[in-house]
Symmetry: D2
Subunit: 341 residues, 4 copies
């Protein structure tokens, strides 16, 4: 932990849509952070975002941002394949680290990232934002208070509003980049339990013409935990009605649900029935959660506690994703130990 | 109370839509009743309904039905203006009486009906069916259990699905035939309290071209109770989205709500948002309540207890309606004592 | 089809809770049926129910009921292991047949029942009552109208309110008697598609002390259809909050949901938050559906059309259940062809 | 309009809870504003808030803040009785003005404020924040699109979570400070219509022991508009379940509703039923609306358009409140012209 005073001086790596939103949060929404630098390899991108958000420095090379002595923490929002190396480099430079999911794409990389942060003694937090969404957090609190007893059946789902480029989606994407959120949610909703094995099925139902290239735009996963609980994770890349993220945990003493497709509480009653608006964009659903996770990160950088979700959480969710990929390939149940050993 | 055994042998007076539905309930839905006779002055109407429902006798003159020794109880579903005389005649003949609302159109008639039933010692129940709707009954139970503390603010509303003939509606209809339900509900939701005064406004908003003839198709009433509670009743004759009956009671310790415009729990999520079907017909909303009130009546005829809602309940709701009519005419608050004294 | 006039004269076989409820419906709730006979092997059971419901005949041997010339249709509500033989006997006697689920416990028996009804030319309807629940039927209508496009992800779940005797539950029960409802619902919600394979997991989570005897009180099933759709069925025998049956279908153009744990629409707002009552009993959730399926049956006996769900529907749901049992045993995906060939 | 570039330089007058929250929004949540000065007569208050929020100047005398050439706009969040004089002074100094509700406590003062802003040509916006709440704004949009046809019945209610000091509440407070929000909402939900008259009842139901001092903690108002629409506004100062603000507009073609007492979408199902958390604080319900109204103000200061709600809106809502006070006193309907003439 750094013991500096004042707002945490953060450097942002990556200025795509989520990077830019994080930049806005760091610069404007979170009093406890300052956005001091932006790095993006695309010509002019870092300058533009830095200028708009009042950051003093703009870099095309993330290494320069990491080396900047004015930067005490980094938010890594680059493409996923660069995450691990950036974590390792930032740790080596002694920077506190917030890294978007997935932190790594292999178990070896996950271990490398965790080890680097541990060796450097720097905070490492992973961007599983759903833990910071009000409804999901309230559900977890009910679980912690014993309100549902022992979890027995869990569900987590992600349905994106569509508009993706099927040619750009790799076979593992739905597990490594989308369902990894659900895997983290399911683990978080079943505290203390470990995953035994998974069974995954997937298909190209939105774009069947890409099925031959291995596209999976729809997937369903069954997960068994060592406390007996059985979980289902489900994803689809094209929901006609908007962005749909929900969770449900059923236990020996009750059930909690979280997530809602409604954009707000307005309801319209007319000759065709009763209707209400649905959430169209990821950012509309998780605006506050994205902000809150960074506010928590800043508090932890200033010594409030150990950041969560941790690198170990990222590794555990990754292991589920990797087991799913193997399960789809083999059509069989895959023990988690088969991908982590 | 009659001490006969077996199903209660009921004669139905009036075979309009609610009469016919009551007839079906008596004949088919309620094991504790038999429909033995039907009376309706319209040529052939009683025969037709009696034939379809297996009743043995059909009369054009209600007096003949009342005199029929096989009939031990009557359900009066004739037009409202005949209710009181039929109650009085049935009481004189020693029949148990279920009468549709309004039991009477004047306080004198209400008193006459109550006195007749009392003198004859026959059960008298009034058709305020909302008391028997599951959600409304559950709300009242919460109130009885102290779940909202002392009632302070109440609301009851009725919105019909439209299609009425404005030329057939009299100025007092909205209060005497529609809002009288809400007046009973509000009294029932505020147990033990008496109404002090009312202020009513009304207008012809659905059919403004009939405003000159005194049509009121929209009305709002403010009611003050002697325990301080303030209630609002509201009605409109043409809801585009169907049949809407709701209640709300706010008190010192909480709130209960009852009523729902949704026809069922199905929800459809699509590019236009989230939607669900609404209830289009009165009968769809209150089918079970209409049946339950008659089942209760039968049980009370067989000695289970004193029927409710009582004649006194009908008189109290009527008094509110009459005060409303005067309030609309004068534009001023009207004390209940002004119409009951 | 019989071309008799008047109400369908039905004999009831089995007077357990569902048999008795069906008997009440036949005798009292459905004008188009008469309950003429009851059979139950338990001493006095048939007499008691027949007496209460006004049926003229009571038998201890179902064969006698089937042979009764006054009986033109039978409702089979005996224990599941007798269903097939009773269907075959009733068919041989030329009776129209309504049989509770499961119609058969083996594919051979299912084929035998279907063949017997076909050979005799009698109507055969199976008691998958959810198809007749208002919300589920409305969901199916949306699907039929194209409101969700092509189904891609489906869910159906059953959670019983608990109180079962774990010693009395056999390993296959959760699939053959409980989830068989969900299997039918999922097939019905994905019209025209066939099941390819299943993967099922199950455990004794409610009563872990019975796990060694093969008890499954919790199960999750993944089903792949030949149109690409992926379905999840889920069951648990002990929901603390009551009886929970829900369905969800997500497709290329939207989603429909059906089922609701709320007992009614009343809501109570208090210092602890907002709350509402939940449904505690199966019969509270499906009262109208149980009645409607028999009303439909009667209409079909009188020639309205071919009864559904059909024997083939029962066979198809059974095949899924049998594949699930094998999948739990082997831990592997099981093709439907493996249990039907 | 000022044609300066950069964020709007705002001075905050008053640092009570809403003033402080507005200060945070100006300093941190809204990129288009800078908080440059704070004024508060309480010793040390302005310094403390200015220090925490990074404002450069702190004043005990609002006149000094208004005279500060670095301040180009003021947000007036002082006690209500000072609002008008501050508006007039700020206008005279050429500052853009955002004033909390109520802008004035008399019609004369309202006219004076409006005239001062008009004479100075400065923007004047009033803090009716509900217009900026997502659900309320969506409801208004439906109205504007014709989704409910012509408004006929409206409802707006405010129930505070309690904890007020009855000795500090004046007789008019419930109308001038609380229901004035609802009056604005009702006018805004019935665009283009003018209020004809009101009838108001009120009582001390939360603290009956203060009734003798004229306390009103509960009130119900009926409002007639010149397009025939009838509205009800309702308030209570102590809701056991939290903060409850809702609106409903029924018209010739449908209904819209806005507002929800639920704090978030989490639901908990347990042996006692189904429950969810309710909103406990004003600020939890309107956080985004409070921010959005100031963001809109800043945009209008920079020339985006004429600010709304306007001074005329404030005057119109005030007139309703004043008529209500007279109506409570007289027990009679009061024409709006009686208080505005």
């Amino acid at each position: 932990m750094t013991d500096s005073a004042g707002p945490v001086r953060v450097g942002l790596i990556g200025s795509g849509w989520i990077g830019r939103f994080h930049g806005e949060s760091l610069a404007r929404r979170i009093p406890e952070t300052d956005l001091v630098a932006v790095a993006d390899p695309a010509p002019g991108a870092a300058e533009r975002v830095a200028g708009e958000l009042g950051a003093r420095y703009a870099y095309t090379d993330a290494a320069d941002l990491i080396a900047d002595p004015d930067v005490e923490a980094v938010v890594i929002a680059s493409p996923a394949r660069f995450h691990t190396d950036l974590v390792v480099a930032a740790a080596a430079a002694g920077k506190a680290i917030f890294v978007e999911k997935p932190m790594a794409l292999t178990i070896a990389d996950a271990d490398r990232a965790i080890a680097a942060a541990a060796a450097a003694g720097v905070p490492l937090q992973v961007g599983f934002n759903r833990r910071f969404a009000t409804g999901f957090a309230a559900a977890r609190q009910v679980i912690d208070e014993g309100g549902i007893g022992t979890p027995q059946l869990l569900r987590s789902l992600t349905r994106d509003p569509g508009g993706f480029d099927p040619a750009a989606v790799k076979p593992g994407t739905i597990f490594l980049e989308t369902l990894i959120h659900d895997f983290d949610t399911l683990r978080w909703f079943n505290p203390g339990a470990d995953v035994l094995d998974v069974y995954a099925v997937g298909d190209a139902l939105v774009h069947p013409e890409f099925a031959g290239r291995g596209l999976l735009d729809t997937a369903v996963v069954t997960i068994r935990f060592d406390n007996g609980a059985i979980a289902v994770a489900e994803a689809n890349f094209s929901a006609a009605y908007g962005y749909d993220v929900r969770g449900e945990v059923f236990g020996s003493a009750g059930m909690v649900t979280a997530g809602d497709v409604h954009a707000n509480e307005m309801r319209h009653y007319h000759a065709g029935g009763a209707s209400g608006p649905t959430t169209r964009l990821n950012i509309d659903l998780f605006r506050d959660a994205y902000t809150q996770e960074l506010a928590d990160f800043a508090a932890n950088v200033r010594g409030a506690g150990r950041p969560v979700p941790t690198g170990e959480d990222a590794r555990a969710a990754l292991a589920i994703a990797l087991a799913c990929i193997r399960s789809v390939d083999t059509g069989a149940r895959v023990a988690l130990s088969a991908v982590t050993a």
